[in-house]
């Protein structure tokens, strides 16, 4: 009879099969590890399932539905804000020839009139006429002061000064042309 048929262990086999404490420790360790892994997995599953996301989504949907009733108002307000931004840029950047001409007129000495005013981009050509050369000189000084104040002008120079002789062979009219560079 073969010894392998007998399922009862002999003393020798019993010693052989007696589990060492390390193996037993390993077995419990492995079981503990598996238990821990399953526990962690279940915890995460429960955390995900029990999160308030669903209720928050519901709340978001309700808020969206509330705002849908004001859709027209939102569109208009958004467009108004966008348009006002564009408008403020236009107003800030557009030319100020009206204010410049106003300043030039206000500073004119009496007896001096503007004969020519040409403005384009950053340059202005201005011709003034007077019967008195002193007035032209005063105005030239005023323009010089306007450059130093740096409000509108960065540079002014006199392009020409024409003197018209009257019938009495005396200087009748003075006409000065200034070229002004804007800031």
């Amino acid at each position: 009879m073969s010894s392998e048929i007998n399922l009862l262990y002999s003393k020798k086999e019993r010693r052989k099969y007696k589990l060492s404490s390390q193996v037993r420790f390993l077995r419990f360790g492995a079981l503990g590890f598996l238990f821990f892994v399953v526990l962690v997995s279940m915890t995460f599953f429960l955390l995900v399932v029990a999160s308030p996301l669903t209720s928050l989504k519901q709340q978001e949907l309700q808020q969206n539905q509330l705002l849908t009733q004001s859709e027209e108002k939102i569109r208009k307000q958004t467009l108004l804000a966008m348009r006002m931004n564009d408008i403020s840029t236009i107003v800030a950047k557009r030319s100020q020839f009206d204010l410049i001409l106003q300043e030039l007129i206000q500073k004119l000495p009496s007896g001096v009139i503007i004969k020519e005013f040409t403005a384009e981009k950053k340059q202005i050509a201005l011709s003034v006429q007077s019967a008195n050369s002193k007035d032209i000189e005063t105005y030239m000084g005023t323009l010089g002061t306007m450059v130093t104040t740096k409000k509108y002008f960065s540079r002014v120079f006199m392009d020409s000064l024409n003197v018209e002789i009257g019938t009495d062979k005396q200087a009748a009219d003075f006409r000065a042309r200034f070229v002004i560079t804007l800031l």
Binding site: L7, Y9, K16, Y17, L19, V23, L26, R27, G29, A30, F33, L34, V37, V38, S41, F45, V48, S51, P52, L53, L56, E60, Q63, N64, L66, L67, S70, K73, I74, R75, K76, Q77, T78, L79, L80, M82, R83, M84, N85, D86, I87, S88, I90, V91, R94, S95, F97, D98, L99, L101, I105, I113, I114, K115, E116, F117, T118, A119, E120, K121
Partner: protein
């Protein structure tokens, strides 16, 4: 043991193999290895994706809370705006910067500026530009040029220029040629199409007017009211066309 494994053929062989080796240290070691393997598989296939899910859910919760807060803010902002004031402000802004070329508005502006400045108006021309709506919308040009010839002195010219800055639609004088009572003025009138890509998501913060823009809007309203009080010239339609909300 290995030799026995190779002889396994039937279920009965497996049972025999189990009873023979179930108490052996090798069997225990294999069992332990199997448990650890299963544990690692659970970590890899279960816990790691769940951890990722959990963090994703936390991010989504945070984003949803922020969106809800924004929606509530938008709701309170929009609730504080009265419909009639919004309609009026919108109409003023759309008149100041129209959504399309506003010929009637341009003619009215020049007409009123001329009247107020007491200048004498000669003929004037308007450079119409592209008429095809689709290509015009793609065009970067947002101005339409008007060339005006006027008669008057420098003070009247200055009044005309000042008045024109207060007329709607908004314009900019780009060139002036004034010589001995005769003025040729080139004026650019502004307009801007509404971009087809403009969207109005509720979750975006509702744009409110800054203090400077509110002040500018008040100025525009004053200018428009003054413009309206002067009346529309007989040759123009009584109302200037601005797009309605449905057209937007």
């Amino acid at each position: 043991m290995l030799r026995d494994i190779t002889t396994i053929r039937t279920f009965e062989d497996i049972r025999l193999f189990y009873f023979k080796y179930k108490d052996s240290p090798e069997f225990s070691v294999i069992g332990v290895a199997l448990l650890i393997f299963v544990g690692i598989v659970i970590i890899w296939k279960g816990i790691l994706p769940q951890t990722h899910d959990w963090f994703s859910v936390q991010d989504e919760i945070k984003a949803t809370k922020e969106r809800i807060a924004q929606l509530q803010t938008n709701q309170s902002i929009i609730g504080g705006i009265t419909q009639s004031k919004l309609d009026k402000d919108y109409s003023v802004a759309a008149t100041a910067l129209p959504y399309q070329k506003d010929y009637a508005g341009m003619i009215e502006s020049i007409d009123q500026a001329t009247t107020i400045s007491t200048m004498e108006r000669n003929d004037y021309s308007i450079e119409v530009g592209n008429l095809s709506t689709k290509s015009a919308q793609l065009s970067p040009q947002t101005t339409i040029t008007v060339k005006v010839s006027l008669q008057g002195d420098a003070e009247e010219l200055q009044k005309f220029l000042t008045q024109l800055t207060k007329e709607l639609p908004l314009s900019e004088v780009v060139s002036i040629e004034y010589n001995d009572q005769a003025a040729n003025i080139e004026v650019n009138f502004f307009y801007k199409y509404l971009s087809p890509s403009t969207t109005f998501p509720y979750t975006d913060p509702i744009k409110i007017l800054s203090q400077s823009n509110q002040k500018l809007l008040n100025d525009l309203t004053t200018w428009r009211d003054a413009q309206s009080s002067l009346g529309t010239p007989d040759f123009l339609p009584s109302e200037t066309a601005t797009p309605s909300a449905s057209e937007i």
